[in-house]
């Protein structure tokens, strides 16, 4: 076997695997940089994928399901904003609750409103979604560095009290941040059902948490998070490539590769991979 086809399939696999991670990680970026801990990326993606697929069965139109996916994820994001900012719930509790509601709600929809063996659905071309996913980190990098809105986002996330004194309203900035989270995780969900051509329960399979891990390893910086997502996608592509082959004479279970992103994240949080600075105001009112 020559090396070229392997390299090509590895590259393609990495792009396909990383794209939803990048979108979700950027969703996490706008939320956590505004100071809102977001462990609900998983639930938002899952809901978006489900809503998008249900809509694509109803309408044969490639755009409306994507809008439905974005809309449903944004709705959950707004709920997160309402609960954390107005009801002042702990961000972790709100996130866990949203994940539970998403898992239960998609089970409900899937069992009663998704018929098995549906016909071909109309979807956007994957390349369009990939283009959005991979240009997003660069846009966010420039936005957060050089625009007023981006600087305010960082200011609110680092010190809500001082931002208030300067006339910036943290709750408003966070509202915008969370709407962006909804849009990006919605696109991630759209990407999932588009590439699978269907919805299955729990199809996010921890991707929301891997995206969060990538964000943390990237030090809450968009381009670094992109790199981390690509690395995780590459691991996955290598694992798929190696499936069934023996490495150095030993049969390494696939799960060892799959758990690498999580282990690396724990090591990174222990501070062994250089100091990564979380937004100072993360989780504060």
């Amino acid at each position: 076997m020559s090396m070229l086809p392997i390299a090509k399939s590895l590259a393609l696999g990495t792009i396909a695997w990383s794209a939803p991670l990048v979108l979700a990680a950027m969703g996490g970026f706008t939320s956590e940089r505004s100071g809102i801990i977001n462990i609900a990326l998983e639930g938002k993606m899952l809901t978006a994928a489900c809503a998008g697929f249900v809509c694509s069965m109803v309408w044969s139109n490639p755009y409306l399901p994507v809008l439905a996916a974005i809309g449903s994820a944004t709705l959950l994001s707004l709920l997160h904003w309402l609960l954390t900012q107005k009801y002042r719930l702990d961000h972790v509790v709100s996130g866990m609750a949203i994940n539970a509601i998403a898992a239960g709600g998609t089970n409900y929809l899937n069992n009663r409103f998704v018929s098995i063996g549906t016909s071909q659905i109309q979807v956007l071309p994957m390349t369009a979604l990939w283009a959005i996913a991979y240009s997003l980190p660069f846009c966010l990098f420039l936005y957060s560095r050089y625009t007023r809105g981006g600087l305010r986002l960082f200011a609110v996330g680092n010190d809500p009290d001082k931002s208030r004194l300067l006339g910036v309203q943290p709750q408003r900035v966070r509202l915008l941040g969370l709407v962006a989270t909804g849009v990006f995780t919605g696109l991630a969900g759209a990407l999932l059902f588009t590439s699978a051509g269907q919805f299955t329960e729990g199809m996010t399979a921890g991707k929301g948490f891997i995206a969060l891990a990538a964000l943390i390893i990237g030090g809450w910086r968009p381009l670094h998070a992109l790199a981390a997502c690509l690395a995780f996608g590459f691991f996955q592509a290598v694992q798929l490539q190696l499936q069934g082959t023996k490495l150095a004479g030993a049969d390494i279970p696939a799960q060892v590769f799959t758990s690498l992103p999580y282990i690396i994240t724990v090591v990174a949080l222990a501070g062994f991979l250089g100091k990564s600075k979380a937004p100072a105001g993360l989780g504060r009112l």
């Binding site: 801990i37 462990i39 609960l83 107005k86 009801y87 002042r88 719930l89 702990d90 972790v92 509790v93 709100s94 866990m96 609750a97 949203i98 994940n99 539970a100 509601i101 898992a103 239960g104 709600g105 998609t106 089970n107 409900y108 899937n110 069992n111 009663r112 809500p160 009290d161 208030r164 004194l165 943290p170 921890g206 948490f209 969060l212 891990a213 943390i216 279970p253 696939a254 799960q255 060892v256 799959t258 758990s259 999580y262 282990i263 994240t265 724990v266 949080l269 222990a270 501070g271 979380a278 504060r284 009112l285």
Partner: protein, 348 residues
């Protein structure tokens, strides 16, 4: 008072007036009942079926108690960490590794000594899984929520790899361990009519009651509550905050592992990757709704047990998908947290 608190207090008086909380409750009930109606299940009848399905007969009550047991122990695990101001999202993973460790030990050493060792092994495994999260929180300041989420995934993947490979029962088609011998089962302690009460429930009761006494009377319990209430004040009072955090999280993990070993020895009798099926996540709801004392764990674990058991019934009888119970769970968590917030901000 922090400036932010002063600002927020002035602006969100609508929360203080209380109708916002009612809005939350009414919206939740409407969504649940709406989802019943949407699939053609009359809400009143469905709610009755849920109660009947979980408490309607001796066999069903036995089944509900089987649900209550892991929820109670895992809830106690979350509660302990919560009292120290820590979120142990990792109970799901600790439950899983605890269950596997208990199954492995019980398979090697049958009989009562094996049971004791298996429970010890389960607690050790759970504690060890929580240890990195505890140490990172105490000495490096890394957020315990993120580390425990990551460790959950690691635990799930590694245990799956183990029971698919070296620990797989030779005669089984699916990834699971062999069944432990009947001598290693946790016995039933009580038969009230046809209702069977497992000693697992007794273990859970002892854990929750012990936690209550320890938090109330023990020096360690006092220190733990002090750290949870205000770590900075606790440090000035001479409490070793890092040590308290390290211990609280590790013991929380050990109790999570205990929940897994009771599930294996008392009910399932073998390990498979689906052992927990979400008890670790439900436990967070159990602990939050339980309120401020471990005694609150009893009613809240019972409530969740009824939901879990009755949810299966309404899926069969009323064709309401079981997922709706998770939606209820999420909403209960939100409402409980919203009530608790009001207490914290306006009673003190």
């Amino acid at each position: 008072m922090r400036l932010s608190a002063a600002f927020a207090k002035g602006r969100s008086s609508w929360i203080r007036e209380g109708w916002a909380l009612w809005a939350l409750i009414v919206a939740s009930v409407l969504i649940i009942y709406g989802s019943f109606i949407l699939v053609g299940a009359p809400p009143g009848q469905t709610s009755l079926d849920l109660i009947r399905g979980s408490l309607g007969s001796a066999a069903r009550i036995t089944g509900t108690l089987r649900e209550v047991t892991p929820l109670l122990i895992a809830g106690a695990a979350v509660f302990l960490a919560l009292k120290a101001g820590l979120f142990n999202i990792g109970v799901e993973g600790q439950f899983t590794v605890g269950g596997l460790a208990a199954a492995v030990v019980a398979l090697r050493i049958p009989g009562p000594p094996g049971v004791v060792l298996a429970i010890a092994a389960g607690m050790l495994a759970g504690g060890l899984l929580a240890l990195p999260a505890a140490a990172i929180k105490a000495y490096r300041g890394g957020h315990e929520v993120i580390t425990t989420i990551m460790l959950n995934n690691v635990a799930g993947l590694i245990t799956t790899a183990l029971v698919a490979g070296p620990l797989k029962a030779p005669d089984s088609q699916s990834p699971e361990t062999a069944t432990v011998s009947a001598a290693s089962y946790l016995p039933d302690i009580l038969h009230v009519g046809a209702i069977e009460v497992s000693s697992g429930l007794l273990i859970g009761t002892l854990v929750a009651a012990g936690l209550w006494i320890w938090l109330k009377r023990g020096v360690g319990g006092y220190e733990l509550r002090a750290v949870g209430a205000n770590p900075i004040a606790a440090r000035f009072a001479g409490i070793d905050v890092r040590r308290v955090i390290l211990r609280a999280m590790t013991w929380s993990g050990a109790i999570g592992g205990l929940a897994g070993s009771v599930q294996v020895l008392g009910f399932q009798h073998y390990f498979n990757p689906d052992l927990s099926s979400g008890y670790g996540f439900d436990a967070l709801g159990v602990a939050l709704i339980g309120g401020s004392t471990p005694l609150g764990l009893f009613p809240s674990a019972t409530l969740f047990g009824i939901l879990n058991k009755g949810g299966t019934t309404i899926q069969v009888i009323d064709q309401v998908p079981k997922g709706i119970t998770y939606v209820v769970l999420g909403m209960l968590m939100v409402i409980a947290a919203a009530i608790r917030f009001r207490k914290v901000a306006f009673v003190n």
